[in-house]
Symmetry: C2
Subunit: 169 residues, 2 copies
């Protein structure tokens, strides 16, 4: 039996590699946004003084088959995913705006203790009344992303389902 | 007579302000991507050593009425706009990929000497055989963006024309 991949080792790295696979295969062009920083001093093309700025949007966006894709990826070591500490209000507002404007928006959640990844559509997430999501909640309002080889986190498979449900395509 | 605005003073700043106007008015959610840097050393939440990384995509992207928008903004003090020095190959490849995937892609070009801004759709730009674009070329293959008060660079007016032409909406 094949050993199951441990997603938790490098969740962001696996997403980046999956996005690289999508773009090399000309399937989708989705990128991680660089961390916003405020550069204070540059010396000979090297940044010697800078501070982190508050992120105002989400980590990933891009295009897939004409659809604007926008999402955030978060992992937790706990049994339950704390919504408010993981997704601050300004990110919720951003996801809400992009959703209303016709984008496909979601959060990828990795439960490290269970080695399970879920794609939770923002529309479902925004209806959640509780502050914590357990595995069962994610099965209810999201889609588990099954392990695959390449890309290792094939979240566009789920996006296809969402597009089909939403637009009948 | 009102004095005409000098776009050249702060082209990027005016685009950022126009985007802020669009997002505050819930018209579109288009943002400048942060400059990618590689952080080498952080000391007490301050970045004390970092280098600039090569930009792999374009400066701006986002969503407008369900359409994925992706563009680069460039200005020139010359009479003619040097295509290859202003838009490197990897950016052309990116714009090509996003265009094929159904995005609305373009370059905003400011001619500082004439205080004129053009939106040139990438599809037209990619057919250009010469290496320099003059004002006349831009009138031919692009759209002049007329001065307006708020937003000062109302490029979505031109995007509306492109959408209408492309999708009949």
């Amino acid at each position: 039996m094949e050993k199951s991949r441990n997603f938790g080792l490098d969740f962001e790295g696996l997403i980046d590699k999956s996005n690289a696979f999508y773009s090399e295969s000309k399937i989708a062009f989705i990128y991680k946004k660089p961390t916003p920083i405020k550069i204070i001093k540059v010396d000979k093309n090297k940044i010697v003084d800078a501070v982190f700025e508050k992120k105002s949007t989400t980590d990933y966006n891009g295009i897939y088959n004409g659809y604007h894709i926008d999402f955030e990826a978060k992992s937790t070591v706990s049994e339950k995913f704390n919504l408010s500490s993981n997704i601050p209000q300004h990110q919720l507002d951003h996801l809400q705006n992009v959703t209303k404007s016709g984008g496909i928006t979601f959060v990828l959640i990795l439960f490290k203790s269970h080695n399970k990844i879920f794609l939770v559509p923002f529309e479902n997430l925004s209806n959640v009344k509780k502050s914590y999501l357990g595995l069962e909640d994610c099965f209810d309002i999201g889609f588990e992303i099954e392990e695959s080889l390449n890309p290792s986190i094939d979240y566009l498979k789920v996006v296809d389902l969402i597009i089909k449900e939403k637009y009948g395509k």
